[in-house]
């Protein structure tokens, strides 16, 4: 057989939808739906104009931030936020470790697994703001509601990712430790912990980041912290103070992002 006998043309076979008709039909359908959907959005242009004007004032305030006038409120909110962030991350991680271990199929019996997965599912299903509203209704305005909210959210986040990491460990290392006659606790301490620790530290630092950002959001619904201060400033049309608060939030988030990525690389 000479080279000339082999085909010289080759086309990548369709991967997802085999039929040409259906692939065109789906594409056209999607475009039609998009056009119709955009058409149903009602735009009140007059209101947009007012908004633009406010936006301009906001940008102006942002460019001339006022740190001094409301500094007492700002610093108080900031300290509250940072306290809330740190305490909720520490407590949340501590609670999520046993839950994460319980939610790992290779370590926990079926009934423990079901319970722990249930806790994680509930924690992840409820968005922070909804949880915050709930806790504010229970325990009143302030940082305690925020602390509970962030702790609750941390449990779902760390618990799930830790459980998945534990399920992905190198089983042969665990088998070797089991073969020495180690107890379950010793197995966790010697075979599992060394394998998941770097990632657990990384995730905790990442969650610290997230919790700070979330603390600004849940403050708006009354759960204390810098978010509450920001909300008050906006309600009073004090855009220069609001600008100052936003700049502080951005600076802290950038700082923590930068340092946590460094720390994570270091613990590997």
């Amino acid at each position: 057989m000479t080279a000339a006998d082999y085909p010289t043309r080759w086309k990548r076979p369709p991967q997802l939808i085999k039929s040409r008709f259906w692939s065109y039909a789906l594409a056209i359908g999607a475009i039609v739906y998009l056009v119709l959907a955009v058409g149903t959005v009602e735009v009140n242009w007059q209101r947009v104009m007012i908004g633009m004007e406010r936006g301009q004032r906001f940008v102006a305030g942002f460019l001339q931030p006022d740190f001094t006038t409301r500094w007492r409120d700002i610093s108080q909110g900031l300290i509250e936020s940072l306290t809330m962030t740190l305490t909720s991350t520490v407590v949340g991680v501590l609670i999520s470790i046993p839950i994460g271990i319980g939610a790992a199929r290779n370590l926990a019996p079926a009934w423990v697994y079901a319970i722990c997965r249930g806790i994680i599912a509930v924690s992840r299903a409820l968005q922070e703001i909804i949880v915050a509203i709930f806790f504010v209704a229970l325990f009143g305005f302030g940082a305690f509601a925020g602390f509970l909210t962030l702790t609750f959210a941390t449990i779902g986040f760390i618990g799930k990712l830790l459980a998945e990491d534990i399920e992905d460990i190198d089983e042969s290392q665990a088998e070797a430790i089991r073969a020495t006659g180690a107890s379950w606790l010793q197995l966790v301490n010697y075979a599992v912990q060394p394998q998941v620790m770097p990632r657990l530290i990384g995730l905790s630092l990442y969650r610290l980041d997230i919790n700070f950002r979330e603390s600004a959001v849940i403050g708006i619904v009354g759960a204390g912290g810098i978010g509450g201060t920001l909300n008050t400033a906006l309600n009073r049309y004090e855009y220069d103070s609001a600008g100052a608060i936003l700049i502080i939030i951005i600076a802290i988030v950038m700082l923590s992002e930068y340092s946590s990525s460094h720390l994570r690389r270091w613990v590997q």
């Binding site: 042969s172 290392q173 020495t180 006659g181 180690a182 107890s183 010793q186 770097p198």
Partner: protein
């Protein structure tokens, strides 16, 4: 002494991994377990310390029926059975010393192992074993900083740290080069001789098995098809275990390997003398 009687393992998928396997290993005997991939070698040695639960039959170690033990007693039995693994199975992020000391986990309470405060005798033993396998300088290194041969030596020290009555060895040389493989096999066999320790070495390298074991058990599709001295491994027997293959050529290649190794050793000696 280890005695295995009518051991059978059927996996949940219905695959019959072992059928009616029986043998006894007296004190100090090194048994080479050979057979093609999927013959049930790994399953067999894991049934002995019940990392795999046997379906029927019994495993007795010094008259203790391991197959009947409940979890606490099983842990106590497991600590007397050292195991050496394919791909070493060290805990990579722990230090060499921690890996060796993990052989004592069955003997010490949790708080001692958690705080790494092992009894002085255990620590002395660990240092002695590391010295025995030639790694005393590496005690504080992380296990993943070592080479393959060194890691397997740590694996051997970990198994011996258990004070075992029996050694189970699962493909100790599968990821090592021919020369290191021989060194590791020699070390394992030497140690067994020193302390009269019986061992089952699960190995797919027929030549190595023949060279180092006192006795060969051949497994084929979960059944024992050969049990005898290494000299009894004739072509006819090998064909029974593995199927048709050119055995003479394989042995020649292995002999050449060994000759080359010996030559290298001689040359190194000459160099040393010249220096």
């Amino acid at each position: 002494m280890l005695s295995v009687e009518n051991l059978t393992k059927v996996y949940r998928t219905g695959d019959k991994a072992l059928t009616d396997v029986s043998f006894t290993v007296p004190r100090g005997q090194v048994v080479g377990l050979i057979g093609p991939s999927g013959a049930g070698k790994s399953t067999l040695i894991r049934c002995v310390n019940r990392l795999v639960e046997p379906s029927a039959g019994s495993v007795r170690l010094n008259d203790l029926d391991i197959t009947r033990l409940r979890s606490g007693d099983l842990r106590r039995a497991r600590r007397r059975i050292g195991m050496i693994f394919q791909e070493y199975a060290l805990v990579e992020r722990l230090t060499v010393m921690e890996n060796v000391l993990s052989g004592r986990l069955g003997y010490v309470p949790f708080w001692r192992s958690f705080t790494r405060r092992f009894p002085p005798a255990d620590i002395a033993k660990a240092f002695r074993l590391l010295d025995r396998v030639g790694l005393s300088a590496h005690a504080d290194k992380r296990a993943d900083a070592l080479s393959g041969g060194q890691r397997q030596r740590v694996g051997i020290a970990r198994a011996l740290e258990q004070d075992p009555d029996l050694l189970l060895v699962d493909e100790p040389t599968a990821s090592l080069d021919p020369k290191t493989s021989r060194q590791i096999m020699r070390l394992i066999v030497e140690i067994c001789r020193e302390s009269g320790l019986p061992a089952i070495i699960n190995i797919h390298d027929v030549v190595l098995a023949q060279q180092f074991a006192d006795r060969i058990i051949g497994l084929q599709a979960g059944r024992v098809v050969f049990d005898g001295p290494p000299a009894g491994l004739t072509e006819e027997v090998l064909t029974r275990i593995y199927g048709e293959e050119d055995w003479t050529a394989m042995r020649q290649a292995a002999a050449e390997d060994e000759a080359a190794e010996a030559e290298q050793r001689d040359e190194a000696k000459k160099m040393m003398r010249a220096l």
